[in-house]
Symmetry: C2
Subunit: 407 residues, 2 copies
């Protein structure tokens, strides 16, 4: 294993603890895992990765577990990078790709980080894991914990819907509904976790980010070991974008790519703490205090734990941040399904809504290669169903022929 | 292409029409596609298949389109064959595998047949496709039609739920609700299809079966080019089981495997026309006339169009047929999720419920290799939610620690 320790993504200080550590002692920002990159040479690394079977564990020299350990896996495979020709044509671009993260075992990109985090938990002999989530991350953590045979605590808000509760519960996790604010519960979960040896694989857990970064690796590999010009991605906690940047930066460090793609972070207008801080050129996120009402429920994070890190990366690496309306997201969801056969959750379609803003703002040129991150499948959380369904005809069998005949 | 023509699965007569043909002129049974198997030699065929990228199109010498055509694909990959060690241990067997068909682009095995059927449609220049479905098959056909840019008609029952209507509609298909019996609409769809050049990729369409058979190919490949002893599978129209048998029979014809696995067909007690006919040793299915009330909605087929073919195969190849209760299916669903992290739709868990009967009946020996077909993902059609969810705790943040401390 090349895993060396941790580095604070904000102040740059390095840590080499024996224990799992989550955040920087000094500035309380999330930590990143650090490897010994000098042992990885471009050509042999590419050859080695190319020769292996599909799936995130093929990149194991850049994953934080010993090579001998059997990964906790539900059969992750490289998610498809669909070339979206019809969609691209409709918005006047030439090269648009959909990175379809809905194709993971539990239907979202969260499975990457969960697979890595759960494997770290097993390697370290942890008996219980947990997370804080009312959606994709909770479902993912519960499923992998079931596979690993570990006790799993899911902390969710008390006003959760019965459908979401079902998705969190089917795998046998102990779901605890907590009647308090997200950030308070988040901090409490880390404290309790340390005290009772429960490994909380929360959104900005350093090992979750290690899983998310493999999305960048797969994109580069599928584009013939080259980076795209743009990656457009949704942001809630900022964990996915932190992972994408880390993946591209590591491939640049090894020499596999020469440039880091520009990343555009997209948030819904009702919950846009990263967009607001970016536009103000602020160094730190301000907490969103109002209630969040949107179809893009999974992006309703009032105080993104990885927000400051993402802001810094966007500034340094020529990224941008854009907010879009729910109507734009619904329209994007509809277009993606009808033009490309890909049904995304609202958070998975928001990147397309954001891309249209970038085009209007002339930030993207016609021939640039653009990858849209489709974070998850639409079946679990469809969003505004009314805008997706055209009212069907009802006929008797005797009128079926005439209906089809008049096309 | 090795595609030669069609053969009736019942009377054995061969057909070589220029037009697409669905059923036998003589006995009205569904047709099967026939290839020139003599041109395929075991060793080179296995080498060729092994060297290719994952996904059903790797078996193209045994698929009914010209090699030059670009398949209509949403990024199908070989679905995982999970070794279910915890589950196997709990029922006293050594080798149980889950063929997880929920991992397809739209979440069910139907995507195999749709991808093949849609590619045939494009190859033949058809402008519109259709199917008869209120569930997985309709969703799958709509998604692939969107990708192919073809008009798509989905004929569904008038009493369809709003959730199911959403899944059929998101991809932009023309959904027509028909107020008549399934079999009448089925026959009408084929007549209208011929007249107006609409290619109906129904459950027993010969090209849909060609897709489904690749499930058998993948199972054999994943087991090191060997057949399992048993395959346990759900049955509605009988199309999936027809496909499984065809796949194993073709691999036997080429010499890749030497024995055909025993197949056990599982149906819910409330809709078991195949089981009833099998137990009576009848040659033909009798129509189920009573109403179908079950959590296994997708298996409610009163008169399976491929039923007689399946009966014949079960008799000739030492298969069996078993009916299970809804309670047994719910329990199986719960166990599969909690022990293996795989959340199946009720029809996807029914095979496990059936396996337990086979064990009680001493039909299966401890060391036999058993593959359970998990037909689809549970998120779209969870079944009896109450039996899957344990009531969660609700606590204030101050009581969270004590809840976790007492484990």
């Amino acid at each position: 294993m090349n895993f060396e320790g941790y580095k604070c993504g904000f102040c740059g200080r390095e840590f080499f603890p024996d224990e799992i550590q989550y955040r920087c002692d000094l500035c309380d920002e999330p930590l990143s895992v650090v490897y010994e990159y000098s042992s990885l040479e471009k050509k042999t690394t590419v050859e080695r990765f190319s020769a292996r079977h599909s799936g995130l564990w093929k990149y194991r020299e850049l994953l934080p577990v010993v090579p001998s350990i059997q990964p906790v896996s539900l059969g992750e495979l490289a998610t498809p990078l669909h070339e979206a020709k019809t969609l691209a044509g409709s918005i006047g671009l030439s090269n648009v790709f959909l990175k379809n993260e809905g194709r993971h075992p539990t239907g979202s990109f969260k499975d990457r980080g969960t697979s890595v985090g759960m494997t770290v938990a097993v390697e370290r002999g942890v008996k219980a894991v947990g997370t804080l989530s009312h959606g994709n991350m909770g479902t993912s953590t519960a499923a992998y914990a079931a596979k690993a045979g570990l006790t799993c605590y899911i902390l969710a808000p008390a006003n959760i819907s019965s459908t979401r509760l079902l998705y969190l519960s089917v795998y046998g996790a102990r779901v605890i509904l907590v009647e308090d604010e997200y950030d308070a519960v988040y901090n409490e979960s880390l404290k309790i976790g340390m005290k009772y040896d429960v490994f909380f694989i929360n959104s900005d857990n350093p090992f979750r980010t290690e899983g998310s970064k493999t999305m960048a690796f797969e994109i580069v590999e599928d584009l013939g070991w080259e980076a795209p010009d743009w990656v457009v991605a949704p942001a809630s906690s900022g964990g996915m974008v932190s992972g994408l940047y880390k993946g591209f930066l590591e491939f640049k460090e090894i020499g596999i790519i020469s440039d880091i793609p520009k990343i555009a972070v997209i948030q819904p207008v009702n919950s846009k703490p990263i967009v607001t801080a970016f536009k103000k050129e602020a160094e730190a996120i301000e907490r969103v205090s109002h209630d969040f009402i949107s179809i893009v429920r999974s992006l309703g994070n009032p105080y993104p734990p990885s927000g400051n890190r993402v802001l810094k990366l966007l500034r340094e690496l020529k990224g941008t941040a854009i907010a879009v309306s729910d109507e734009e997201t619904s329209a994007a969801q509809r277009e993606m399904a009808r033009m490309e056969g890909v049904f995304a959750e609202p958070a998975g379609a928001i990147a397309l809504a954001g891309l249209k803003h970038l085009i209007k703002l002339h930030r993207i040129e016609k021939d640039e290669k653009v990858v849209l991150i489709v974070s998850g499948f639409g079946f679990r959380d469809p969003g505004d169903a009314d805008s997706l369904v055209d009212k069907p005809l009802t006929v008797g069998i005797n009128n079926l022929e005439s209906e089809i005949a008049r096309k």
